[in-house]
Amino acid sequence: MIKVRNLHKYYGGHHLFKGINLEIEKGEVVVFIGPSGSGKSTFLRCINGLEYFQKGEIDVGDIELHSINRLMPDKKGIETIRRIRLKVGMVFQQFNLFPHMTVLENIIEAPQRALGIGRDKAAEDAVTLLKRINLEKKVNSYPEELSGGEQQRVAIARALAMKPEAMLFDEPTSSLDPEMVGEVLSVIKELVDEGMTTLIATHEMDFAKEVADRVVVFDKGDIIETGTPEEIFTNPKTERAKIFLSRILKRSIM
């Protein structure tokens, strides 16, 4: 469903991605792990066009985004990026709810304005989504009245309201207090169980083991290893992956 071919990206003078290739099947759950700054977040952000890239192509379904369309977008390029964003939803580390809108308004804003769905229908769908994440009581609250975990669940509902074909999670639990991580992960787990194509960048190794069809290990902008959770966590092939995993696992034991 998502194909990344020969992706190159420079950050200032730094050559971060040196030709990444990756293919993700429909319904597949791929978890991206790796040290901070290794490029896993940037990779997800490239897929829905929030980041420039200098070379390569990204296919989402039958839409192709070529680097040139992202670098110097003409009208057609801008439309291409928008069509990709309509297919893939994104959830951010910082939630990024709109502070001047209620929970309901946050969720119905894009369906109403970007898809042209009527307000009543959009609100009905929003309430259904809120029931699924047990937040129907907060429908008229403002984001600042919610806990971090609740805000992130609303952010997931907001992305789902656009009925995406795939979801990108960019470290969805990294800025949450530990006791709130579980409630967010269980919402993501539910989605995965329903068969949503899901890409997650995370440091939650246990969660990765639990939900991933495939784990991708990033280091310094390279994909150093891919495989099933079992292969990666019990028997990593490369030295760099071993070092990263031993550090991470040591930390989670302590």
């Binding site: 829905n48 066009g49 939803g89 994104m90 910082q94 990024n96 001047h100 894009a110 970007a114 600042e144």
Partner: protein, 497 residues
């Protein structure tokens, strides 16, 4: 700490030395002071223009004019030098009362209102008011043809009183003598009534203008002197009479092309030095009688401020968006606009819009020019406030909106601007209040708003203090509710957050 103390004591020392060396107001009569000082200080406004007192076109550092000649003659008789003291015409009398100079001489008409505040010398010139119209004018033949027409004059002059007394004349008040004739030539006015010396100098050489009828409203120019300087007045009268008898006056007036038969009457005034006696009505008029005028001025101030601010808010928004999101060269143009408008004085912008644009065929009414001048100027400031507000909205907000499939323009409109506006609101309110007060600057383009109403009323009645307090109160009554409203709005918006 030590260096600060040393610096402070140094400054204190300098202040003491400064106070020491400034000549203290020594007691003694005005005459004694003048002689001791070695020069006669006379107040006038060189901006008022020719032929009274004005910079020599050949050497602008030097002042010339018939009043300069008279002042020099008086000083010579006193055995001292004459020294001009620059002061805005409108406030020559209060400045004289305050003791800024020994006498004020600048085409000041002897009126009962002024005589209540100062004493006048015997007249040194008999002025008349000359009506000037455009060359092709056929309807207006004298001041009685002015009903329903637009006529311009200077603020606080007898000509203004004459125009007002006709009734039904749309009187436009100016503070300079060039501008009314400019506006007349441009068709913004139907006629101008001003003192003959002014008309002779500014209107007569202009091929587009002509005199209508013969001069009206004879009156006297006198030298204003502080009320308690009686001795100085007598001395001045003696000198003026001497200059008149020796024919020196006539020579001066002939030099400036101002001599006419009317001036012969000056000799009668030597016999009876009393100037004309009139009713002292406005001096005694209770304050509330000024309210209708002041409220009308306040109404115009509100109209100008509200319309200009609305324009500034809309144009500012466009500029901020172009500057931040516009493609080249639009973003650069927006930046240039903002920098130029912020970097040049509003007064110059108003002059260019009102008096400059007619040169390229765009002639705006004073009100339109005021809206556009203030609105375009404040738009630059609003644009910067919005830009700061937009930049203060976290980057993630735009990313979240885009990731939901919203277009950039939709995201700006629905997500960024509402948040940016909240951040910018205190600044915008502040600017609105500042604009309320800056609106007084449009008096230079013949708009009589509150401040101008005040200076006109105060200049004719000389009641600067009471009227000033009322006007200040009116301004406050307009701007304070605005800050209250803004505070409530801010509170309401932050609750909703």
């Amino acid at each position: 700490m030590k260096t600060i103390l040393r610096l402070l004591s140094l400054i204190l020392g300098l202040i003491i030395i400064f106070l020491w060396t400034v000549p203290s107001q020594t007691s003694g009569t005005a005459l004694e002071k003048i002689k001791k000082r070695g020069h006669l200080l006379w107040g006038s406004d060189a901006e008022g223009g020719a032929p009274y007192v004005f910079p020599d076109p050949k050497d602008p550092s030097r002042l010339i004019g018939f009043e300069v000649d008279i002042a020099e003659a008086i000083a010579r008789e006193l055995g001292v030098k004459a020294k001009q003291s620059q002061n805005a015409w409108d406030s020559l009398i209060p400045a004289l009362e305050r003791g800024d100079f020994d006498m004020a001489m600048n085409g000041i008409e002897i009126t009962p209102q002024r005589e209540a505040k100062v004493i006048f010398s015997i007249p040194y010139y008999i002025y008349t008011e000359q009506l000037v119209v455009r060359k092709e004018e056929t309807f207006i033949k004298d001041i009685y043809g002015l009903k329903g027409k637009k006529a311009g004059t200077l603020s606080g002059t007898v000509a203004q009183d004459i125009l007002m007394s006709i009734g039904g004349v749309d009187v436009k008040i100016y503070s300079g003598q060039v501008e009314p004739y400019e506006d007349l030539a441009l068709g913004r006015l139907d006629a101008v009534l001003l003192d003959l010396p002014i008309a002779a100098y500014y209107a007569k050489p202009n091929p587009k203008l002509k005199y209508a009828g013969s001069p009206v409203g004879e009156g006297f120019y006198g030298i204003a002197i502080k009320k308690d300087d009686k001795e100085f007045k007598q001395e001045t009268d003696r000198i003026l009479a001497k200059l008149l008898r020796t024919g020196e006056f006539k020579k001066i007036y002939e030099k400036w092309n101002m001599w006419n038969e009317t001036q012969a009457k000056l000799f009668e005034t030597i016999k009876d030095s009393g100037s004309y006696v009139g009713l002292d009505e406005s001096k005694k008029a209770p304050l509330y009688t000024f309210l209708p005028n002041l409220l009308k001025g306040a109404g115009i101030t509100i109209l100008i401020s509200v319309v200009s601010m609305a324009l500034a808010i809309i144009l500012g928004l466009v500029l901020a968006i172009l500057r931040l999101y516009g493609r080249p060269p639009l973003n650069a143009l927006a930046t240039a606009y903002i920098e130029i408008y912020r970097g040049t004085p509003l007064l110059i912008q108003l002059y260019i819009i009102y008096y400059g644009l007619p040169n390229i065929g765009i002639s705006l009414s004073p009100l339109t020019a005021a809206f556009i001048g203030l609105g375009m100027n404040y738009a630059a400031y609003e644009a910067e406030l919005y830009r700061a507000g937009i930049n203060a909205v976290p980057k993630g907000q735009m990313e979240a909106a885009l990731s939901l499939g919203m277009t950039q323009s939709l995201a700006v409109k629905r997500i960024i601007l509402p948040q940016a506006f909240r951040i910018a609101l205190p600044g915008v309110t502040n600017d609105f209040i500042a604009l309320f007060k800056d609106s007084s600057l449009v008096s230079v383009i013949a708009m009589v708003e509150l401040t101008k109403t005040y200076s006109i009323l105060a200049a004719t009645t000389l009641r600067f203090f009471e009227l000033g307090l009322i006007v200040a109160l009116l301004y406050f009554a307009m701007s304070y509710p605005l800050s209250l409203f803004a505070r409530r709005l801010e509170k309401k918006l932050s609750n909703k957050k």
